[in-house]
Amino acid sequence: MTIPMNPIFEKEIRTRLRGARAFQLLFAYVLAQVLIIGGLVWMSAAFGTEVPLGEIGKSFWALTFWMQLGLVTVITPGLTSGLLVAEREQQTLDTILLTGLKPTHIVVGKLFSIALFIIWLLVGSLPVTAIVFLTGGVPPSEILLAYVLLTFSAMVYGSIGIASSAVAKSQGKATLLAYTSAMALFIVTSIAAVPAIGGIYSEARHTAYFTAINALGAPGATTFNEMYFGINVPAWLVSGVINSSLTVIFTLLAAYHLSGCQPCFAIALRRTIYGMFVAFAALLGGANQLHIEYIQLFAFIAPLTLVATFGTGSSANASAPGSIWKRVFYGHDAASGRLFAFFTYTVGAIVIFGATAAFRVWTQTDELQPFTTRAVGQLLVSGLVNTAALTGVAALGMRLVPGRWAALGFTLLGWATPMFLLGICTAFLQSSSSSALGFIAQTTVFDYSQSPNTSHWIVTAVAGAGCWIIARWKR
């Protein structure tokens, strides 16, 4: 019996590996590693420190791995972001769709061809990594696991690329969108990887969360356990589950978009995001010893991304008139999108705090010192104020700048920049940041746990209302 091949997969592999191009890329990939790592090793050797060989091996392994991660993160979105938009620009997309191939098959075939290509690059560069075996200090099982996690990461960035490719109208826009989204995801998840990076250099095994969802934490986090609702879960498993779900979600979104049903896509996107958001909030709430700063960041970033994504776009009221529930989950215009963002954030926030409370009752621990009722309440309020104000910014963005993406950018930057600057000023005034994370949190949302800053709510609300009024001015 032969396994039925996905024709798209076959086609992509066949054309990608044709000629010298792919092999030139492999050569460049390995060469880049050799040069950079060689340079680092040479530099550290010049300092002539007396460090045990095993420790050098560990550092070397982490360095090689991060190098690979960097290259994979840069290469993958670039490779995938062109795939579908190219078919559209070449006018071959209709022809493929008419063969009866399902959009899912097309997207999956393309994505897997890229995944195979990335694995091919990684395997091709194994000899460089193998130097670790000479120095010792890192068990092969950890190396293998880290590579598996890296492949998962590559799939996420690849699926982001392919989703951008399905959404965007032109090659350039697709690339831009893919890289911005991939970088945003990378930066946000890298915060979670910080304890794992520390873990590489010390024997201490922290309890932390989502340490391996960014492959940055993979070399350290392969031996980590994370505790959710009092249950120990290996970090790599959490990473695997989250990253593969993200991949599936982005892939499905691409397929939905390809099927040409724009409202279906918009509605599916809303429901997926809603489900993910609430699940993520539940996990955050159920996580033990969670820093309040995570939640603070959540209260700023979540409304921002939600409103920017759903609150800009088509201004035509395409949703059928009906109950709020209907508008939120069956609509696909900007106005109901803002309603959706507000609704989703509120539910997410309630779930976080519900899960936290449930966890406390369940485990009968009172370890969660920062989670005072007051701090939690303040965060809930600040998140909601933020969301409400942001809807005003989104409305203004749609009024001022033409196009969906411009409005999205306006909402993101137009809000984050002044808030960030304001945050930095306050952080300096209060000079109360105890950790790097705390500093970031303070510069974005004020540290409500320490100083209930109602004046900030007022500033936020007034700014949001101002935007709203200008947006409505002489319509």
Binding site: T2, M5, P7, E10, K11, Q90, T92, I96, L98, G100
Partner: protein, 314 residues
């Protein structure tokens, strides 16, 4: 057993906001028929074909291919049609046989059947000697033929060809025409659109003229030219000084619709019979008009088209 109509369009209308692209169009075609869709650019040919190809949904009306509704069961329809869009792309980095193999695989043709099938369609489209060439290196006419070969790779009953010969040099055009004739002999139902008339006149079993979304006339070519229209053009050459007299004499005669000057000639639009035509000549001679030349202009599809679409084409 009664085979269902291969193509059955019933009162199809497609509307975009304000524009009506196709207006209440009906059409029925059986096996072995080649229907030529004629109309100026923007008349609604492509829209109609796209509706049949399941790429667009009609606003109202029912479209059936081989007895299957295109809106209700697009996947079953897709397996039965070969669609060649008016503008299309090919995968340059493929070899010709790989290109066809890819589409055959996409249409779920079993792997063992593909090589024979590919040879067959390549032979049909006269591309056998290019089997191992890269698509990139093919001429435009060859790419067009390759695209045609692609539409046949799953042996569809219906072919929808949107401007298959546009942008080709005369030789490549004749090749496409010969190919279509051959396909007709294979019993396929073909819809082929064009804005160039003589291209179709030769091999279509019937034609339809579409303008502003409306199917003005349709039917076998001969009947279109003869009965349906009925207007013939007679040309008359007389010395310049007799032109005025001739016009005056002709004007009130039976069957004369219009008399127009065209250089040295007078064009008479005439819908009377043969007897009336001789009467016309007799009347001219009686009026002492000196006739240099008198005869019927051969009416072709083009004239019919111009006649029907007069004033409508912007």
């Amino acid at each position: 057993m009664n085979e269902p109509l291969r193509i059955d369009l019933q009162n199809i209308t497609k509307r975009y906001d304000k524009l009506t692209a196709v207006d209440n169009l009906s059409l029925a075609l059986g096996p072995g028929e080649i229907f030529g869709f004629i109309g100026p650019n923007g008349a609604g040919k492509t829209t109609t074909i796209k509706i049949l190809a399941t790429l667009l949904e009609p606003t109202t009306g029912v479209a059936m291919v081989d007895g299957i509704n295109v809106v209700e069961n697009p996947n079953a329809v897709r397996a039965r049609i070969g669609y060649m869009p008016d503008t299309f792309g090919v995968y340059d980095e493929f070899k010709v046989w790989e290109y066809l193999d890819f589409f055959a695989a996409a249409y779920k043709v079993p792997k063992s059947d593909r090589p024979g099938l590919i040879d067959l369609v390549l032979d049909l489209t006269n591309l056998s000697n290019k089997k191992d060439a890269y698509v990139e290196g093919l001429s435009r006419g060859m790419k067009q033929r390759l695209c045609l070969a692609r539409t046949m790779v799953h042996n569809p009953k219906v072919l929808l060809l949107d401007e298959p010969a546009s942008g080709l040099d005369p030789r490549a055009r004749i090749e496409i025409r010969d190919l279509l004739k051959e396909l007709r002999n294979l019993g396929k139902t073909i819809i082929v659109s064009s804005h160039i008339l003589p291209e179709l006149a030769d091999f279509c079993t019937s034609v339809g003229i579409i303008e502003k979304g409306k199917l003005l006339v349709s039917g076998p070519i001969d009947s279109l030219i003869g009965d349906n229209i009925g207007v013939r053009v007679l040309e008359l050459k007389v010395p310049a000084e007799d032109k005025a007299t001739a016009s005056k004499v002709l004007g009130p005669l039976k069957g004369v619709r219009n008399v127009a000057e065209r250089g040295e000639f007078l064009d008479i639009q005439f819908d009377g019979g043969i007897d009336a035509q001789s009467d016309l000549l007799l009347a001219l001679i009686n009026a002492k008009v000196r006739i240099i030349c008198f005869g019927e202009v051969q009416t072709d599809l083009e004239a019919v088209f111009m006649n029907l679409t007069r004033g409508l084409v912007a």
